[in-house]
């Protein structure tokens, strides 16, 4: 059984790049297009880890983290944040809301994969 990763990002190109690399590494992938979709898929798909963008319509990454922490079914799923903004404030806020780490765009896809591996181990 492959480990499962949920990718939540409103940019289809970036989502595809991340999904492509994660699939290559052997993980089973689900995708979500915004924060609301992301929360639903978390509850449904129960991923081992979530890769979560900050700037999204409907519900942004911070909103997702807040909602997630209130839901016992999903609150312990580890989350890696992606952000285009480089500010220290954003990083601090994400960590304080429960994120494990923050990657700033443009990030190295290889680095993302190794970060995922660090958190949940290899795909199988």
């Amino acid at each position: 059984m492959s480990k499962k990763v949920l990718v939540v990002d409103d940019s289809p190109v970036l989502r595809n790049i991340i999904v492509f690399n994660l699939k290559k590494a052997g993980y089973e992938i689900q995708q979500a297009v915004d924060g609301v979709d992301g929360l639903e898929k978390m509850r449904e798909f129960k991923p081992d880890m979530v890769v979560l963008d900050i700037m999204m319509p409907r519900l942004d990454g911070f909103g997702v983290l807040e909602e997630k922490s209130k839901d016992e079914a999903i609150h312990s799923i580890p989350v890696m944040i992606l952000t285009a903004k480089g500010g220290e404030d954003d990083k601090d806020k994400a960590i304080s809301l429960g994120a494990l780490g923050v990657l700033t765009k443009p990030f190295s896809p290889k680095q993302l994969i190794s970060s995922v591996k660090e958190v949940i181990g290899d795909a199988s």
Partner: protein, 481 residues
């Protein structure tokens, strides 16, 4: 529903993707004997057509999927490269001296281009360093030393170009079998090469690609820019440091020179002092010594703070010992001993000592390696160069110096100077020289000492024009009335 009706429904659905017109088929079916057989045959064909369409779609989908995968692979790779360039910029912007981040730069390159061996060679100012990282299992470990030497030698040439080697070309360059592919990107402008980036044995592919080259060129450019900035900064710091030293030296010198020149009865005295930008090594003084006039002009070897400190030492020695000495040679000798004993540098002072009794006109002088005094005798309308033997001050102890004397006559003019005057150069590198000096003195000998001094200054300024002054110019003009 009767069978026929059901068959008609089926046909309609197939018709949506097939070419058959179901009414015709049904009618045909009614006309032939085996109506049901015929309809089944058409259904069969329709289904076959459906199957073919499906297989087509499946193939197209697979092709698109493969194309998408390939494109995604490309995009992902480009994104990785972008991230690497961004990372490199960040690394370089957080440091002044690029050599301090050599290893981190290699790590960044490794993220984008997998190669068994990656190295960066830095060669600028007093930096000479080769950072490298080789996979542990790689066969390159054995040829590392050779590779380093090869790269350093290649990058030390003038006008270095990018080198991409594989296959036969590697052997042409004399590289061993363990190297399958190599790329060297110089970190350079058209004039100067500051080192280079080298990669050997690309993994995932046998040769380094144009894309690899482009990325490495961009990184090399950034490193080059960073190095140039660093060099510029170092130069600026050094300039500032020197300027500060010069300012201090000048302050010292200025504080030691006389603020006013005495004007005894029978003697007109005028002095001129013009320091060069970087020097501060000349000294002069005029004062009364037991009713006689003591004059001295000195030139300290060297420039900057050490020269001005030696000058200070010299002046102190003269000022103190002049009261203890019974003659000029004794004074010069004492001053010489003092400087030779106490000055730890290799510097020396040339100096002309003069004692003038203005009542009698007796002119005594002692020379320590200095240029001769230029004397213009009004009566004879002739020039004389007044000097005697004596080595510069500060070289050897226990030296003896000479004293000579003569009688000055009314109207005589003499000039004691440092070599900055005759050696002053114009833009054609010609020297002002003694002839020009003498001409000015002669042309103006009827005028006052101050006027003669001004005339000499003016002549020099006109001669030198826009050329840079490279030495202090100091002189004293004395006219005996």
């Amino acid at each position: 529903m009767p069978l026929k009706k059901r068959l008609e429904e089926l046909l309609k659905r197939i018709e949506q993707i097939s070419d058959a017109n179901h009414e015709t088929v049904i009618n045909q079916g009614n006309e032939s004997d085996n109506g049901e057989e015929y309809i089944i045959k058409v259904l069969d064909q329709g289904i076959e057509r459906l199957e073919n369409e499906l297989v087509n779609y499946k193939n197209q989908l697979e092709e698109s999927s493969i194309m998408l995968e390939t494109q995604l692979e490309e995009i992902s790779k480009t994104y990785e490269e972008l991230s690497t360039l961004y990372e490199v910029t960040k690394i370089l912007s957080h440091t002044l001296d690029p050599v301090s981040v050599g290893e981190r730069l290699i790590e960044s390159i490794r993220n984008s281009i997998p190669a068994e061996g990656i190295g960066i060679y830095f060669s600028y100012l007093d930096v000479e360093e080769f950072f490298y990282s080789v996979n542990q299992e790689s066969t390159l470990q054995n040829t590392l030393e050779y590779c380093k030497n090869f790269v350093e030698e290649y990058l030390s040439k003038d006008s270095v170009k990018i080198l991409m080697l594989d296959g036969e070309k590697l052997r042409e360059f004399g590289l061993s079998d363990t190297i399958r592919s190599m790329i060297i990107i110089p970190i350079s402008s058209t004039e100067k090469c500051y080192g280079g980036i080298v990669l050997a044995n690309r993994e995932l592919g046998s040769i380094f690609t144009a894309g690899d080259r482009k990325l490495l060129e961009s990184i090399a450019n950034q490193i080059h820019f960073s190095i140039e900035n660093f060099i510029y900064l170092e130069e600026k710091i050094e300039q500032e440091r020197l300027r500060e030293q010069i300012n201090i030296a000048k302050e010292i010198q200025r504080s030691l020179l006389p603020s006013q020149i005495i004007q005894p009865e029978r003697t007109q005295i005028a002095a001129s002092f013009s320091p060069a930008v970087e020097v501060a090594g000349d000294y002069y003084d005029v004062f009364l010594l037991k009713e006689k006039i003591f004059l001295i002009v000195a030139d300290v070897s060297g420039k900057g703070i050490p020269a001005s400190l030696l000058m200070s030492s010299f002046r102190s020695a003269v000022k103190i010992m002049v009261h203890d000495s019974h003659s000029l040679p004794e004074l010069v000798s004492k001053v010489n001993d003092h400087i030779a004993q106490n000055d730890i540098t290799d510097r020396f002072v040339t100096s002309m000592f003069v004692l003038l009794d203005q009542k009698t006109g007796v002119f005594k002088y002692s020379n320590a390696g200095h240029d001769p005094i230029i004397l213009y005798r009004k009566e004879q309308d002739e020039f004389f160069e007044i000097s005697n033997d004596g080595i510069p001050i500060g070289i050897f102890e226990n030296q003896s110096y000479e004293e000579d004397s003569f009688l000055l006559e009314s109207g005589d003019v003499f000039v004691i100077y440092t070599d900055g005057i005759p050696e002053a150069r114009n833009e054609n590198k010609e020297e002002f020289g003694f002839s020009r000096m003498k001409k000015v003195i002669k042309d103006n000998h009827e005028r006052t000492a101050v006027e003669i001094k001004d005339a000499l200054l003016e002549a020099m300024e006109r001669f030198v024009a826009n050329a840079k002054q490279h030495d202090d110019t100091t002189f004293i003009v004395v006219k005996y009335i």
